[in-house]
């Protein structure tokens, strides 16, 4: 097997993964052939992820965060721009290299119930990626599977290897999904809403597990989530997405304490911590809803809902990225 050796992980200088001017559009057709427009799910995204860091992409449903995850995984072909992993653009990889790439990037899906094939037991679920990647030795595969289960704290592994997904609780299923993502010893893990389908009480547990695996192995971890209140504890850097774009990015505490973009400010203002005084006041919520990605508004995409909109600028020109504070970037004309 072309086992990705662990020690080369940090050898590549610079970012592990970066996106340059990334666009993922989905063409809409009528009657199968008439082009009626494109859904601009990812529309000009730039970022760099450093080796060993945990980042979170935060946004509401329909902001393009899942499409971004799938583009990073190479499941969607970018319409424009490129994804660069360890110095090479995904678009230039041949079939064999793509396979290696997929082994280097683990994926944790949103819905563990849907991610695990119901007719496979845990053993087969964990062996399969190893078989696909050419590990012929059964004993070695079994050893890896056990290690992976221990890693996600499903121990003793013997209790779980012969179980089928329906025999496991939601939290246990998600652990199996994580074990499967880890089994090829990836350099990076992309987790798309890893806990949104789970019970509140298991969420923290799964996030802590992911985070500890990430720090123990120095993995790069990209969370895709809508939940800002958990992000603080499980990521180092936050990217806020709105309507297919990244509107703000900064280290966690910086972003939470000094949000710059009016959208981020609104988002943070809408989140409640359990406080009985909450019941006494109304929350300020920007009017309207996120725009259609089929026909996003001109200029800044948040301008129709923004209370600090600058007429003549925000509604006409796309805001570039500014850096109002050190290491804190935002695409908003207020910081021109």
């Amino acid at each position: 097997m072309s086992a990705p050796a662990r020690d080369i992980r940090r050898s590549a200088a610079g970012p592990v993964l970066s996106a340059r001017d990334l666009h993922t559009w989905f063409e809409l057709r009528q009657w199968g052939f008439l082009r009626v427009g494109s859904v601009r799910a990812v529309d000009g995204v730039n970022f760099e992820l450093q080796a060993g860091e945990a980042v979170a992409f935060v946004g509401e449903s329909g902001c393009g965060k899942s499409s971004l995850a799938r583009t990073l995984l190479g499941l969607h072909q970018p319409t424009r721009g490129e994804v660069i992993f360890e110095g090479r653009s995904l678009g230039t990889l041949d079939a064999r290299e793509r396979k290696t790439y997929l082994a280097r990037v683990g994926f944790v899906q949103q819905d563990p119930y849907g991610a695990l094939p119901p007719f496979m037991d845990v053993r087969r679920i964990l062996h399969e990626p190893l078989i696909v990647h050419g590990m012929r030795n059964r004993a070695e595969r079994e050893k890896r599977a056990r290690e992976a289960l221990e890693e996600v704290r499903l121990s003793p592994p013997d209790d779980f290897l012969s179980k089928f997904p329906h025999m496991l609780s939601g939290g246990q299923q998600q652990r199996v999904v994580i074990a499967r993502a880890l089994i090829l010893r990836p350099a990076m893990i992309i987790a798309d809403e890893p806990v949104s389908m789970l019970d509140a009480s298991v969420r923290v547990e799964i996030l802590q597990l992911l985070r500890s695996i990430q720090t123990n192995h120095g993995l790069t971890l990209a969370f895709i989530t809508h939940d800002l209140s958990t992000v603080r504890h499980f990521a180092e850097r936050i990217f806020v997405m709105y309507a297919g774009r990244i509107v703000e990015q900064a280290p966690v505490n910086e972003l939470l304490n000094h949000p710059q973009h009016p959208y981020t400010q609104a988002l943070l203002g809408a989140i409640s911590d359990p406080d009985p005084d909450n019941a006494l006041q109304m929350r300020e919520v920007p009017p309207g809803e996120p725009p259609s990605l089929l026909k996003p508004p001109a200029g800044c995409r948040f301008h129709p809902r923004c209370n600090r909109m600058i007429p003549g600028t925000c509604d006409q020109e796309d805001p570039p990225e500014f850096e109002p504070r050190n290491g804190h970037h935002t695409a908003c004309w207020l910081y021109r």
Binding site: S61, A200, I271, N278
Partner: protein
């Protein structure tokens, strides 16, 4: 009868038959709610909170093995009511409900306005026109433009649909609306604006709300009273101020510590272990197995003790309080 609570629930029990035996989904739940009060029922999934909502509306599945207790509406015992009388006098007249994921259960081929007006047509026998006018009014109340009356569900966003099902629950002007996980599938901003709408409706109409949810943070947006359920039982019932500020039951304490908070440095701590199986719940305290303060008395089922005037706790640690 001004002193009577709007709804008083006493020792409610509901057991289901299942392939593996009897599931004791509700096992002795007592609480009350006053007029214009917002009560939040918190609990993990499988603790019986949705069953509680259905029991209050008497929307029971066929496999009910045992259903007992008292349900007093304005001091009138309704458990003895026939199905027909309950439907005529209580359900959707005094108490209405927004079911879990109801926004996804709207009929896709019927205009939203008609669906929302349906309770008026069915329960009150109003004409289509009367019902439409009233529906438009309620739409305004929940924050949807009356233009949407003519739309089909697929033309509405998730937040709009949630408002529409809320309108459906409000259209008959009930005294109490029960909402089962009304915002858990929605985005943060939508959640906040729905909670705003609830607060406004409560102020303007004086409606009482029972909000059933696992989301402690969002629930605090409206909660005046909090009831925490665990394994089919009510473990703590208190004013929101006391519950959020100083939870009394060990489970309440752990639950509050497990909530991720935006404005707090400490990492939330998860509660180890799993809730017991309701097929065969443990003899003594149902939380004992996971409880850090367990002691020998916990092998016996704890009584519910009263702390002060407004709080009850089902835990031996509070045995100094009077029996409730």
């Amino acid at each position: 009868m001004a002193s009577e609570p709007l709804l008083r629930v006493e020792d409610l029990r509901l057991h289901y038959r299942s392939g593996n035996g009897v599931v004791r989904a509700l096992d002795g739940v007592s609480f009350d709610i006053r007029r214009n009060e917002a009560l939040v029922v918190l609990g993990e999934s499988g603790c019986g909170k949705s069953t509680l909502a259905k029991a209050l509306m008497r929307l029971l599945p066929r496999n009910v093995q045992h259903f007992s207790g008292n349900l007093l509406v304005d001091g009138v015992e309704t458990m003895g009511f026939s199905e027909e009388r309950f439907r005529r006098e209580v359900r959707w007249v005094r108490i209405s409900m927004v079911m879990q994921a109801a926004m996804n259960a709207l009929n896709p081929v019927i205009r939203v306005g008609e669906q929302v007006a349906e309770p008026l047509r069915v329960h009150r026998g109003w004409s289509a026109r009367q019902a439409r006018e009233r529906t438009a009014e309620v739409f305004g109340l929940v924050g949807i433009s009356a233009d949407f009356l003519q739309r089909y569900p697929f033309e509405l966003s998730g937040g709009m649909r949630q408002r529409a099902v809320l309108a459906m629950a409000l259209v008959t002007e009930p005294d109490l609306v029960i909402m089962d996980e009304p915002t858990s599938a929605l985005d943060v901003l939508t959640q906040a604006s729905i909670m705003n709408a609830l607060k406004r409706i409560k102020q303007e109409l004086g409606t009482s709300f029972i909000l059933i949810t696992h989301d402690v943070s969002t629930s605090s947006e409206i909660a005046e009273r909090v009831a925490l359920m665990y394994a089919g039982q009510l473990v703590e019932f208190a004013d929101a101020k006391d519950f959020f500020g100083e939870p009394a039951h060990p489970y309440s304490k752990l639950l509050m510590a497990s909530v991720p908070r935006l404005h707090q440095e400490e990492t939330p701590v998860h509660i180890p272990g799993q809730p017991p199986n309701l097929l065969n719940p443990p003899e003594g305290c149902r939380f004992a197995e996971r409880c850090p303060s367990r002691f020998d008395r916990c092998d016996r089922d704890p009584e519910t003790f009263r702390i002060g005037n407004r709080r009850t706790v089902r835990c031996w640690l509070h045995a100094a309080g009077s029996r409730a």
